[in-house]
Structures are given as structure tokens and as C-alpha cells.
């Protein structure tokens, strides 16, 4: 009888706290969204499953010594995984559209406004006593507005490791929700004539320019903002490997097997942060709301910047591509293209939108560097 009792005491059912039960359900919800609704499945499947694993009572997978905790310590605490992913993203990025129209970099800059407004929002909320965010927490939450998963995770791991689970989930879910969140904002801020603006055909960008660009970007980072050097350095390295075309084998590995391997472990490690005591908190709800605000403001300021640039002269820019300034490559650019086609079935904006789109990646990495510099240093 004693042994039976002991078996019962060791069972998951006996040990489960209500919080763990809810977290397992949340993990299942993430899996459902990923599998049935196709929301960023590459990340939400590992994150959701990691979340379920982390909350198995008595198994302690996410506690010290558990395998998920190990993944976390090796890859995220050290900052390695987001950086490796960034290298892969660099190797998949084509700077051609950006180089043919460098002015679109301003759109990528403007869209970072959401990051800083949200930072202010978080600071205001904690001044009002609603939440208890430090400046570092606020900075990490704001970065969600950059709509760049690896950047968010990198900043959160440096500035606010406690909030990492919520921040990662928020930033990846919003990336998946780009096609739902952005269009209403874009429609509200533009009129029909603006949506129909046809942009000048892009000039041809020579191969040499594409090789030199990552090196220039790297030098600029090295001189001006060394705190962004880990992110942008890996990004430039990946891009150079792709463009120089003499190391195709390395570039292919970075773009495929390496980034996939790291994504698996990154997802599981983020999932390990979905433990009941950290996640089931009003703070998480606050982060989700603030992240949404960050994202919407980023979208809006990109569109407004494009309209402003049209007022200042030069070749006309379709304001719809402004929203692509919030990285989220290539989803945001596809949304711009879709709305452009709705207004005029012959107006293809995809390639034009890729410019601000990759500019957004650079912009949010720069913003991340500033946050780390200012708060950490």
C-alpha cells in the first residue's frame, strides 16, 4: 500500500499545480496556432513544445540541470543562438533593392520609432505604479516593436532575462500576425491616390557593390556603435559569405542546416522560459499589449515617413512600402505588395518594399545596440 501511495505521490497528476496545468494548455495553444493556423510554425512548434516540457511536474526539465535549462544556458544566456541566427539571416538577405534606392533606409529608421515610444509607455506605466518595470525591462519590451525575433531575444537576454519568455513569444506571435495587424493601419493612413503611386524601376546593382556594402556597414558599426557589433557583425559576415560567392559551401550551411539546427534549440530554450511562476503574471499581459502598441506605431511611423519624404521631393515613394520598415522579413514586404495590388492590379511593390524591409533589420539592430549601450553601460 505504501508503495502504491508513493507511486501516486510521484505522478504528474498529484504534483501538478494549477499554474503548470494552465501553462501546458498555453503550450498546446501555441502548437495549435503553429500547426493549424500556420503562425510562424518554425518557431512556435519548438517554443510551444518546450513550454509543455518545461511544465511537466516533477520532471524539472527547465530547472537547473534539466536539459532545457542546459540549452538555455548554452545558447541564450551566452547570446550565441540569436547571433548565429542573425548570421543566417544575413546570408539570406539580398541588399540589392536597398542599394538601388538607399533613401529607403530612412523608412527603416522611422519604423524604429515604435520601439522608443513603447519604451516610454512601459516607463510611464511603471511610474504610474501599474507595473514594476525597470529601464532595462522597458528597453527590452520596446524592442518587440522592431519585429525581429533574434534581436528581441538578444536584447532581452542581456537586459531582462526574467521577461525573456514573454518577450520572445510576443515578438514571434506579432511577426506571424503582421498580415492582420498592418493593413488596417496602412489603409487608415493613406488615400487611394497614394496607394496607386508607381515607383521608378530599380536600377541594376552590380555585384561589386553588393560585396562592398556589408564591409562598409561593418566599418560604420565598428566606428560608431560597437555595442551593435555582435548583431550587425554576424549579419554582415553572413551576407558577405553569400555575396562574395567564393565560399558557397559555408554560405549554404549558414542559410540552411546551421540556422535550422539553431532554431530548434533556440525554440526549446525559449520554451523553457514559459514556466508558470514567471509567465502567469499580469506583467506578461502588459508585455503583450505593449508589444502590440510598439508594432502598430512602428508601422504607422514608417508610412508617415514615406509621405513626408514625398513632400520633400525626389522620386515618389509609395507610402505602402513604409510599413515594411518594421523588419519582419519578408512578411511585411509581402503585405505592402498585397495592398499595392489591391489598389492597382499592375503595381508590384514587392521588390521596392524589400529595401525598407532589410533597412528595418539594420535599424532595429542599431536601436538594440543603443539600448544595450545606454542601459547596460
Amino acid at each position: 500500500m505504501d508503495q502504491l501511495l508513493q507511486l501516486w505521490h510521484n505522478s504528474g497528476l498529484y504534483q501538478m499545480t494549477p499554474g503548470q496545468g494552465i501553462m501546458i494548455l498555453i503550450g498546446m495553444l501555441l502548437l495549435y496556432l503553429a500547426i493549424n493556423k500556420n503562425f510562424e510554425p518554425l518557431l512556435l512548434v519548438p517554443i510551444g513544445f518546450g513550454g509543455v516540457l518545461a511544465n511537466i511536474p516533477g520532471a524539472g526539465l527547465a530547472e537547473h540541470g534539466g536539459i532545457l535549462h542546459l540549452f538555455y544556458a548554452v545558447g541564450i544566456e551566452s547570446g550565441a543562438f540569436p547571433l548565429i541566427i542573425f548570421m543566417g539571416v544575413g546570408a539570406m538577405t539580398d541588399f540589392g533593392p536597398l542599394l538601388s534606392n538607399p533613401r529607403t533606409l530612412f523608412l527603416g529608421a522611422a519604423a524604429q520609432f515604435g520601439i522608443f515610444v513603447t519604451l516610454m509607455g512601459a516607463v510611464t506605466l511603471s511610474t504610474l505604479g501599474v507595473f514594476d518595470f525597470s529601464l532595462a525591462d522597458a528597453a527590452a519590451i520596446g524592442i518587440i516593436g522592431g519585429a525581429d525575433g533574434p534581436t528581441s531575444i538578444y536584447v532581452a537576454s542581456k537586459l531582462a532575462p526574467d521577461l525573456l519568455g514573454a518577450i520572445a513569444v510576443a515578438s514571434y506571435s506579432y511577426m506571424a500576425l503582421v498580415p492582420l495587424i498592418q493593413p488596417p493601419i496602412m489603409r487608415a493612413l493613406t488615400n487611394d491616390a497614394e496607394r496607386k503611386i508607381k515607383m521608378v524601376q530599380q536600377r541594376h546593382v552590380s555585384h561589386r557593390e553588393k560585396i562592398i556594402f556589408p564591409l562598409i556597414l561593418l566599418l560604420l558599426v565598428a566606428f560608431l556603435l560597437p555595442d551593435a557589433a555582435p548583431l550587425l557583425g554576424m549579419f554582415c559576415f553572413g551576407n558577405l559569405m553569400k555575396e562574395c560567392a567564393v565560399v558557397d559551401r559555408l554560405s549554404n550551411t549558414t542559410q540552411n542546416s546551421l540556422i535550422n539546427t539553431v532554431t530548434i534549440f533556440l525554440g526549446l530554450a525559449v520554451g523553457s522560459k514559459l514556466s508558470a511562476d514567471k509567465f502567469l503574471d499580469l506583467t506578461t499581459l502588459g508585455i503583450l499589449v505593449l508589444g502590440m502598441v510598439a508594432f502598430s506605431i512602428g508601422t504607422a511611423s514608417g508610412v508617415i515617413m514615406a509621405k513626408l519624404m514625398n513632400k520633400l521631393g525626389g522620386s515618389q515613394i509609395n507610402p505602402l512600402i513604409g510599413s515594411a520598415g518594421v523588419s519582419a522579413v519578408p512578411m511585411a514586404a509581402r503585405v505592402s505588395n498585397k495592398l499595392g495590388l489591391e489598389a492597382d492590379p499592375h503595381n508590384f511593390l514587392l521588390m521596392h518594399a524589400m529595401g525598407p524591409n532589410v533597412a528595418g533589420v539594420i535599424g532595429s539592430a542599431v536601436a538594440a545596440g543603443i539600448m544595450i549601450n545606454y542601459v547596460g553601460g
Partner: protein, 89 residues
């Protein structure tokens, strides 16, 4: 941290951050435009790198005139290929 000073820190981080993002990307626009201009100038004289890139450092591209006859060339290649195919069997 005291509430009001947290607000101040937030505001200064926002202004500083947004300002810096713009300064950085403006510089990038200037430098990039300059680079494109220089590269285009240079490439007028020396020609562009082939579109697919220099695929591998060991690639050997015979220059015009190095091999006398195109037909002769093709025959050499075909013979080599047939030879290789047979030797594999």
C-alpha cells in the same frame, strides 16, 4: 529607481536613441550612395564581375585565342567525357 528619474531616463533614452538611429542610417545612406557612385565609375573602365559571382577560386576560364580552334576544343572535351564515362563502368 525613483519614479520621476525613471521618466527622465526614459525620455532621454528615447530622444538619444531615435536621434542616433537617424544619424547612423543617414550616414549609411551617404556612404552607400558614395560607394555606388565610385563603383559605377570604376566598373566603366574595368568591367563588372560576372553576375553569378566568381564561383570558385579554382575555376579556369580559357581566354579568347588561348585555344586555337573551337571545334578542336569541343572534341577534346567530348573525348575526355566519353573516356571518363567508360572508365567508370
Amino acid at each position: 529607481m525613483e519614479a520621476s528619474s525613471l521618466m527622465e531616463e526614459g525620455i532621454s533614452l528615447m530622444l538619444f536613441g531615435m536621434g542616433f538611429v537617424f544619424v547612423f542610417l543617414t550616414l549609411l545612406v551617404i556612404v552607400t550612395t558614395l560607394m555606388s557612385w565610385v563603383v559605377t565609375k570604376i566598373e566603366k573602365n574595368i568591367g563588372a564581375i560576372p553576375e553569378g559571382g566568381i564561383s570558385s577560386p579554382t575555376t579556369f576560364t580559357p581566354r579568347q585565342g588561348l585555344l586555337k580552334d573551337d571545334d578542336e576544343n569541343i572534341i577534346t572535351v567530348l573525348t575526355a567525357a566519353v573516356h571518363k564515362y567508360r572508365s567508370r563502368k
